[in-house]
Assembly symmetry: C2
Homo-oligomer: 456 residues x 2
């Protein structure tokens, strides 16, 4: 009997565990889940005889290696920086590996050895990265097969709160690692291609360079650009496109208000604030504003960022109790980003029963014969509750489906890879449709990159 | 006969060479100057029999070590990152060392060995750091000696163009490494203390947090905060002050216009721009602005940064030919910061005969008996021409004076140090006065930190 080992069983793994434990009997495999906290795994997998739950110290080489040696395929749900510990063992012992994370340079360097051993190290097979690659490649290859020439590709993804659980002014709740949300966009310039011109946006302007998106039945959204939109240009076969842009989706108004945090410096994770343990939210805000012997924090902030007194943005700040002076935020030796995260987590955590929502949107512009054409493709997935979230579903199911297909030899091309080949994305996307993860495509007029439909 | 070795003879060393070559005979020492380009040294030192000029590859260990072994005191005018090569040799062969650079952690780590060998490794003895330390410590120690308790210390320095050579709208020319000017303020938050409150400014807001300074006979200036104003708190003995702030001086209006470059992302040195070799200034500006099928670069920029059509700031941009589309900037594989530097160097270089100006301003607030008092102290030095600049004078003379005193044993406290002890700063400041480097002090009302003199 073949065996799958899943390392890490955090709250984003509910659908992964559900899928694999439900398939273990039928597809005849054993399934081991390892984590410090196994509550979620126990709740979902129940007393399935095919499933073993274990507590193992993955930093203990002997324990970890024994475990990996004893399985055929390893799913690493660890934080991305820890994948390599598992990857090296998997390579040494000749086991397949699946992760939902970006391929690091270290991971990429294993490719020749992985290939030599005939192993599949499949990465970037969650939502974003994951479903974005697969759905984009399917349409791009369709267009090319029909003789079309790609001119234009834009792709947007967002993890949001579902309309029925949307009860704050930001129209946002955390459905993924809050730290990543607070740090989003940092660490380098955002770079993309608009109509043949390379464009660069520094972090501090990112949230003022949004554009709008409309999704049928769900209304209007906004998107800000990702760090490197050009990263997949070659991999997607888009060397000759004039526009290449990838972005993150939020509800309208989020980015403009988030920009207040960026402008103040609250998202900075590079230094520890003095006396952070005793700081109230009001002190925290004031640390980024000029000293005044008389003026209020509120007026100083309004003046500093030129916020009109009747700007709706202000209500978003008030909703976070940002001017509260009654109790400390309560973090010792914290960076601004850590302080901000704590403030937001109090307000933006999914509550029991809350539903989240995943939104993805692609625009494919292409030349077909004498005509320029465009296909817009969108995906909306609504979660069931705060355990079976849309995020856990869209990350976990592609991973689970691919893992099982690799285990069964149905996906077998060896190497360190991401899911951009039809052998992988076709069967995975097909099966995802059975779970309601289905894109809606429509033909729209091709307008070049011209979001405001303006002409001089 | 004792011998001084000066490694590096760039354009900021004119006064250093002048002072040492003029003193060599009287004070009976030999003086060797080493650089690839010895034009300046030859011009200034002339055919002084005490002075030898040499071309040595300082990366050739044997050549360098032979040279250092043959001298008693080494002045390193190399780029700061190269000091350690010289410092280790100086330590090995038991030679004194003098630099005008900040003490790096590596340099600091040599302290026990330097002390054990009875050597003086004097650093931070130029202008800023240098004269700022010495002049501040003299007044602070005076105040303390008279029973005063320090409450408040602010210190500002700027290298500018002299009024008589000020012929551009920025009222600025490069008098020091242009690269450092372009990158100024980057690499971390700016941190200071105002009336007992720690304040933090992210880089992208730095140039909008200036305040004004008035200097008798020279009018109004502005200053933006340095990176870490608290760095010298302990060294200066200012543990209990309520305000501690260090800043960089510019003429009024410079920072607000510089902020355009910061906002666009033009000062970023972290990535290479695509096709930089073919970019005109106009292309360069446009790379940071949204694509539009119809709108001009000018209008896009005005709109993006909300610049009124009659804002004087715009003339500053036009003066740099920033919208020129007739010729490439001409740098291959360049970062935005390198492109910007090239644009500015075309306009802001000192011309033959141009005079520069050094401005320094300290505010010392203190409690004396029942009273709060304040002393303001200012220094203005005007250069003679584009060789004998005020910058070269204020960097080179303290260095030269200290070097000679160390050589003669008049400064002898061993260790890796900066000039904050009276044994060093008193004789150096006294001698500097003979060269016209003299502070003007005046008693002013103590107003706390309250630059606008406001009350609610």
């Amino acid at each position: 009997m073949k065996k799958i080992l899943q390392i890490g069983a955090g709250k984003s793994t509910s659908y992964l565990i559900k899928y694999l434990s439900e398939h273990a009997e039928k597809d005849d495999f054993g399934y081991t889940i390892v984590d410090k906290n196994l509550d979620l795994a126990r709740k979902i997998a129940g007393d399935n005889p095919r499933v073993s739950l274990k507590t193992v110290d993955i930093f203990d080489d002997e324990q970890r290696q024994q475990l990996i040696r004893d399985h055929d395929l390893i799913i690493s749900m660890l934080p991305a920086r820890l994948h390599m510990i598992v990857a090296r063992d998997a390579l040494d012992f000749g086991k397949h590996l699946v992760t939902a994370s970006y391929i690091s340079d270290e991971m990429k360097a294993l490719d020749p050895e992985v290939k030599a051993k005939g192993l599949v190290f499949m990465n970037e097979i969650g939502l974003d990265p994951g479903i974005d690659h697969m759905s984009a490649m399917r349409t791009i290859n369709d267009i090319k097969r029909k003789g079309g020439e790609m001119l234009h590709f834009e792709s947007f993804t967002g993890g949001l709160v579902a309309p029925e659980s949307d009860d704050n002014l930001w129209h946002y709740k955390f459905t993924w690692n809050p730290r990543n949300v607070v740090l989003a966009g940092q660490g380098g310039v955002s770079k993309f291609l608009h109509e043949g011109k390379f464009k660069y946006i520094p972090y501090h302007r990112l949230f003022r360079r949004t554009e709008f998106l409309e999704i049928d039945d769900y209304g209007r959204f906004e998107a800000y650009p990702n760090r490197d939109s050009l990263k997949y240009q070659k991999i997607y076969g888009l060397e000759n496109v004039r526009t290449l842009y990838r972005g993150t989706i939020r509800r309208v108004g989020f980015s403009r208000a988030w920009n207040v945090f960026v402008q103040l410096g609250m998202t900075d994770d590079s230094y520890i604030m003095e006396n952070s343990a005793s700081m109230t939210k009001r002190d925290f805000v004031n640390a980024f504003l000029p000293y005044s012997p008389s003026d209020s924090v509120e007026l100083k902030l309004r003046y500093y960022l030129k916020i009109d007194q009747d700007d709706e943005l202000w209500l978003k700040l008030e909703e976070l109790d940002l001017f509260d002076d009654t109790r400390p935020i309560g973090l010792e030796n914290a960076t601004p980003a850590q302080m901000l995260q704590k403030i937001l987590e109090e307000k933006w955590s999914l509550q029991p029963g809350d539903k989240d929502m995943i939104v993805m949107y692609h625009k494919f512009g292409y030349r077909s014969g004498d005509e320029n054409k465009q296909i817009d493709s969108s995906l909306v997935v609504i979660g069931e509750d705060d355990t079976y979230t849309a995020m856990a579903k869209t990350v976990g199911l592609p991973l689970a489906i691919a893992a099982l297909k690799i285990l069964k030899g149905e996906i077998s091309k060896p190497g360190v890879q991401l899911p951009v080949h039809p052998d992988v994305y076709e069967p995975v996307l097909d099966e995802l449709e059975q779970y309601g993860i289905r894109f809606r495509e429509k033909q729209v007029p091709y307008l070049h990159y011209n979001p405001h439909h303006t002409m001089g």
